[in-house]
């Protein structure tokens, strides 16, 4: 804040007011809602006896992991449950009227008018064949009876209101011509059009990059405030909930386990499940935990009314009573409720943390040559030298002159947003894509060149784990067959021996050996990701690229997988390239970090150093956008980046110049930024002098002091 404050647009964090004494009648009052889905194997009870209320002007978070029933509740309010879904019982009172008693046409008239929705994925929520403006206008024409001409005027107003600078152009554009952030703004504009009383927000920012997410959340908070909107905010992200919701309802296995004001629930969780969920979250804290606390087991699935506490099978505090009696919701005053009879006894007990802390490791002593050496790596996609002049393309620069090394036993994190080139770097390291220029050495050998010559032996030593655990496994092959494949290719052992190896690998990743005979669809997401890891380990690799390997997993499962990966590193001395958009995950597991933007490295160094000033302006923006819980300290003023800018790369200047809030001027556009070393192994590529960068206040003040954090 001390330098160039005019270049920094800061907004104060959204205030979370203390809950009022509930005078007004609730806008939405859900009571005893029970929903089941008819499946091939009988009915599955998705939601059991759920109740909550939302006051006018209140934003309530509905939190839970996948399978908790949170989206089902939201869809039931909208009457969009889809095939097989059925509300068995309960009331959904909106402004005092039970929506369930209305005819389908009456409910449709409410949808998009008094009750509007924004869904998770902006990329697929807009119709690719219609202009954005037309899609925003639809509800205006339908519900408010505007003429198309009047609607067009209103559309531009709405787009302006959600922070789009050039409403006319955006209204005339097709969805694919807009960035994800702009698309989500357009969806929000659609929802606001008819001035609804209630917004249903189903994971509205989950598919977006963190810097974009931060801006959308700020926008939503501002709009809810200025329009006195109520919102049902469905999310799995506790940090986001902390930022925007006044109250929270936590769902587990289709049952409300806890409800209350956000501040209280997140800082003093009463239900064991809430405690576990918060404990399992990877955090940017001073001391590094060797292992994350985790919740064992998998999410409960009910087929009828719960006969015991739904969480008992996974609860470390469970007793006999918990397993034999269903729990009642106990009101605690100030809007708090807990479904656990032991809540008072556990008030001061936190979730067991078996891991303890471990010192952050700095760079390992340079005993030997690095395992992976990348020099001046460059990758251009889509370049074409056709004989037809109008088909010639310069191509898109995905990775631009990147150099780094990975030591044996080291975990190198790569952090960046979509389009930063981080996945391309990972693929190039495994010779899965041919570099356009530069060298990739694996244990001193030129990996891509060996592969070009048909020598695949290095592939056994370097493996890959992807994000999508389901798509990474062939649905027609059993787990055992999938895991055996790399062994067959490597010519390891006979059938009997391979079976033993597979069993050993499954045990190593914490799965029963009998899983070898199962098919991928019979496994949960976490189990499938364990299988993917086990398969990657089949050929005893030294190096594994984890490309967003934990991003699609629920918090409790993510903690399990991160612990597994950390354990394998410690036991087998594995090196990882850990690619992720989640800086907290990197802070937890990585030794060193590369922050990449537009195919170039902005900043690199040991984790503890990168998380403290001096920051590259992009790192600072990224860190300030990370949603956090109260105990991590209050939120700093956020640095807001433009949603999108010119496609970065290949223009000679700094790739980040187009979005940089601290841009100096033409020099940033025209000259490649100098790489300056602040400390051993900590480098920043920026035109701003290091001393100026170092003047900034730390984004995570608790990390600021002392070398203990750095080493």
């Amino acid at each position: 804040m001390t330098t160039a404050p005019h270049t920094r647009s800061a907004v104060p964090p959204v205030a979370v007011p203390a809950p009022a004494s509930r005078p007004a009648a609730p806008l939405l009052d859900v009571r005893g809602l029970t929903i089941s889905y008819g499946t091939g194997r009988g009915t599955l009870r998705a939601v059991s006896d759920v109740g909550f209320s939302i006051l006018p002007g209140e934003v309530m978070g509905l939190v839970g992991e996948s399978g908790s029933g949170k989206s089902t509740v939201a869809m039931a309010v909208l009457d969009l449950l889809g095939e097989g879904g059925r509300v068995e019982s309960g009331e959904i009172l909106f402004r005092g009227t039970d929506l369930r008693r209305l005819a389908p046409a009456e409910r449709r008239a409410l949808r998009g008018d008094s009750i509007a929705a924004v869904f998770q994925d902006p990329f697929t929520s807009l119709n690719p064949a219609l202009t954005v403006g037309r899609q925003i206008a639809e509800p205006l024409i339908r519900h408010k009876r505007l003429t198309p001409r009047q609607a067009a005027v209103r559309v531009e107003e709405l787009l302006g209101e959600v922070g789009i600078r050039d409403p006319r152009r955006v209204a005339a554009a097709y969805p694919h011509e807009l960035s994800g952030g702009m698309q989500q703004r357009a969806l929000i504009a659609t929802a606001l059009g008819c001035e609804p009383g209630l917004l249903i927000l189903d994971e509205p920012t989950t598919a977006l990059d963190v810097t974009v997410e931060a801006r959308i959340i700020d926008l939503l908070a501002k709009l809810c405030d200025s329009h006195h909107l109520s919102a049902l905010f469905v999310s799995h992200n506790l940090g986001i909930v902390n930022r925007i919701c006044q109250s929270v309802t936590v769902l587990y296995g289709g049952v409300v386990v806890e409800t209350g004001p956000t501040g209280r629930v997140l800082s003093r969780p009463a239900h064991p499940y809430t405690k576990g969920l918060i404990a399992a979250l990877p955090r940017i804290t001073a001391e590094r935990r060797a292992r994350l606390p985790s919740i064992p087991g998998t999410v409960a699935k009910l087929s009828g009314p719960p006969a015991a506490c739904v969480f008992a099978p996974r609860c470390p505090f469970a007793e006999e009573t918990c397993r034999s009696h269903p729990q009642e919701m106990r009101a605690e005053g100030d809007g708090t409720g807990v479904r656990c009879w032991k809540a008072d006894a556990l008030a001061t007990t936190s979730w067991p943390d078996e891991g303890g802390t471990a010192p952050r490791r700095g760079a390992l002593p340079a005993r030997s040559a690095p395992l992976v050496e990348v020099e001046h790596l460059r990758k251009i996609y889509g370049a074409s030298t056709s004989i037809l002049p109008w088909l010639r393309r310069a191509g898109t620069v995905a990775v631009d002159d990147v150099s780094f090394t990975i030591d044996r036993g080291e975990v190198l994190g790569v952090v960046g947003e979509s389009g930063s080139g981080k996945s391309t770097i990972g693929r190039a390291l495994l010779a899965l894509t041919e570099p356009s220029a530069g060298t990739v050495l694996f244990d001193g050998a030129d990996f891509p060149q060996q592969v070009r010559r048909g020598d695949q032996t290095l592939r056994r030593r370097a493996q890959l784990v992807f994000q999508n655990s389901a798509a990474s496994l062939n649905p027609r092959k059993t787990v055992g067959q999938a895991m055996e494949r790399p062994l067959v290719l490597a010519g390891r052992g006979d059938a009997e021996e391979r079976r033993r190896t597979v069993a050993g690998l499954l045990t190593r990743v914490g799965l029963p050996a009998a899983y070898a005979d199962r098919y991928p669809h019979e496994l949960s997401g976490g189990e499938r990701q364990r299988v993917n890891i086990a398969r990657a380990l089949a050929t005893d690799p030294e190096f594994v690229v984890c490309d967003e390997a934990v991003s699609a997993l629920d918090v409790s499962v993510q903690a399990n997988i991160l612990n597994l990966l950390a354990g394998l590193r410690d036991e087998m001395g594995l090196s990882y390239l850990f690619i992720t958009h989640d800086i907290a995950v990197v802070a937890h597991i990585a030794d060193r970090v590369l922050v990449v933007y537009g195919g170039t490295i902005c900043e690199e160094g040991p984790v503890g150093r990168v998380l403290r000033p001096p920051y590259h302006p992009y790192t600072e923006a990224l860190l300030s956008a990370v949603p956090r819980l109260a105990e991590d300290g209050s939120e700093p003023p956020r640095i807001l980046l433009e949603d999108s800018a010119l496609p970065p790369g290949g223009r000679g200047g700094c790739a980040f110049a187009g979005r940089c809030p601290r841009k100096l001027g033409a020099v940033c556009d025209e000259q490649a930024p100098p790489v300056r070393e602040t400390d051993q192994g900590h480098r920043i590529a920026c035109h701003i002098p290091l001393a100026t960068l170092a003047e900034r206040a730390p984004v995570f003040p608790k990390l600021a002091g002392g070398d203990a954090a750095a080493r």
Partner: protein
């Protein structure tokens, strides 16, 4: 878009050049010798030789090809040996008749097939869907000539409502012309409808599960708008491809159907040319059929762009 069309036209020209070479070579390799066929079975070798020289058949292949290709570029498709007439007018007439058949049949197929497909997708799993599926399978499973024969028997022979075959030009009255079209069109529709309906159904089902359809419903749009405005346009892409292929198919001649109904289209012309060993006619017919196929596909790709702005965008940049 313009660049894209230009590129595609260039490729089309290339394909036709390659096709013309192949057609020329293949017809050369066919048994029999044109000159002796023209001269007749009992002609003396001198006469045959004279005809050969007159037609240029004694020249090297490359020269013969060059003369043929140059002729085509000037709009001269050569003379039919058997009919002893210029080929171009004969071919154009047959092509026009096939075009009429294709346009009428495919209009019916497109309207009815897409309609039934949408209906089945919307009523997925219900009786309507099962009936559409059942009829579709019947259409796919039973061969076209069977339908043709049944139709001829029922409407032509027993009920005597419609002519069983042949063709009368429009000039001799619209009604007789249309009456001759009915049975071939119905047979073609029975043959092609099922595939279009199935295809539309399955892509419609996919589109109905997308987020943008869910979002359209969340905006309170009535089902008719959701289905017609939001879903259908996006679901039509695969259907357009198959319709274009079918169009090429009919233009290229549906030999069995044209034969059963004695409909003088491209199929019968080609069959006639092959049976009578009329080499120039064979060559010209196949070349025109290839061109028709390529053009139909080009039109389909351009239609894609019309339906899907994302592809339009891709054409502008790629």
């Amino acid at each position: 878009m313009l660049a894209y069309t230009l590129t595609r036209l260039l490729y089309l020209a290339l394909v036709l050049v390659v096709m013309s070479v192949l057609i020329f070579l293949v017809t050369q390799a066919m048994p029999g010798d044109v000159a002796s066929m023209i001269a007749g079975q009992f002609a003396s070798p001198e006469v045959v030789q004279a005809i050969s020289v007159k037609l240029g058949l004694d020249q090297p292949l490359i020269v013969q090809y060059g003369r043929w290709a140059a002729g085509i570029l000037h709009g001269d498709l050569g003379r039919s040996l058997v009919l002893e007439q210029p080929i171009a007018p004969i071919l154009m007439e047959a092509l026009a008749r096939s075009l009429v058949l294709a346009v009428v049949a495919l209009t019916v197929v497109a309207v009815a097939g897409i309609g039934l497909g949408v209906l089945a997708a919307v009523r997925r799993g219900k009786l309507t869907d099962q009936m559409v599926s059942g009829i579709s399978y019947l259409g796919i499973a039973v061969p076209d000539f069977f339908w043709a024969i049944v139709l001829v028997l029922v409407f032509g022979s027993y009920m005597k409502l419609l002519p069983t075959g042949g063709y009368t030009p429009v000039a001799e009255g619209v009604l007789p012309w249309a009456a001759h079209l009915v049975l071939p069109v119905v047979t073609l529709v029975l043959m092609l409808l099922a595939r279009i309906a199935r295809l539309t159904r399955s892509s419609m089902i996919d589109v109905l599960q997308t987020n943008y359809v869910k979002f359209a419903r969340a905006k309170g749009m009535p089902e008719s708008v959701v289905i017609l405005r939001h879903a259908l346009k996006n679901a039509l892409l695969p259907t357009i491809t198959v319709l274009a292929i079918d169009f090429g198919l009919i233009l290229g001649g549906v030999v069995v159907i044209e034969t059963i109904f004695s409909y003088p289209g491209m199929g019968r012309l080609l069959l006639f040319a092959i049976q009578r060993h009329d080499l120039p006619l064979i060559q010209a017919t196949i070349l025109v059929v290839s061109a028709a196929y390529c053009l139909a596909n080009l039109v389909a790709d351009l239609l894609y762009a019309f339906v899907n702005p994302k592809i339009r965008h891709g054409m502008r940049t790629a």
